[in-house]
Amino acid sequence: DAGITQSPRHKVTETGTPVTLRCHQTENHRYMYWYRQDPGHGLRLIHYSYGVKDTDKGEVSDGYSVSRSKTEDFLLTLESATSSQTSVYFCAISESRTGGTEAFFGQGTRLTVV
């Protein structure tokens, strides 16, 4: 398995509180991604990074921010959690500018906002 660790694996938080999820990789891959998985929607891209301090929005970025200060760490922050952000969050990594390589996924973080 690719060296990707997501933390925490499970979290319950209250509406309106900030939450930070962490993705740590040991593969030195350039690209890192945050997805959310919801029934009927498959995987939707929240934000991604193509290098240290280089990030961009995905299709469902509202209410989320990210930071990447080191190659190995990609943080996802829910600025003020809402019930609609209850989901399973996956981090993924990939290498190659040419797009030839696949993405490797972490084990996921199950977030419940009450």
């Binding site: 690209y31 991604y33 997805y35 009927g40 929607h41 498959g42 995987l43 939707r44 891209l45 991604y48 193509y50 961009d56 995905g58 996956f90 993924a92 990939s94 500018r97 040419t98 797009g99 030839g100 696949e102 993405a103 490797f104 996924f105 972490g106 084990q107 996921g108």
Partner: protein, 115 residues
Amino acid sequence: AQSVAQPEDQVNVAEGNPLTVKCTYSVSGNPYLFWYVQYPNRGLQFLLKYITGDNLVKGSYGFEAEFNKSQTSFHLKKPSALVSDSALYFCAVRDAPYNFNKFYFGSGTKLNVKP
């Protein structure tokens, strides 16, 4: 615009029979295509990919997929299904070179293999 469609939410097949999970895509440039499998409470695992070359690609666990450029399809196949193949399957595409930073995923197809 880039997109992936998996037209079947669920596919049911008997053990030992061939299986097909369908995927069609839309990209602006050249498609780099991928299949992933997800078991309950797990992350996605890579199965196979098409980048260029032979239209029939082989991957893990006996799966294969056929790239069809004219039909913009990349269907996943296996000659003889196993009960252990029951899982959620995702097709994904990368649009090279115009939008290669992102992977676009389909909504997933649940495969049920019955004994």
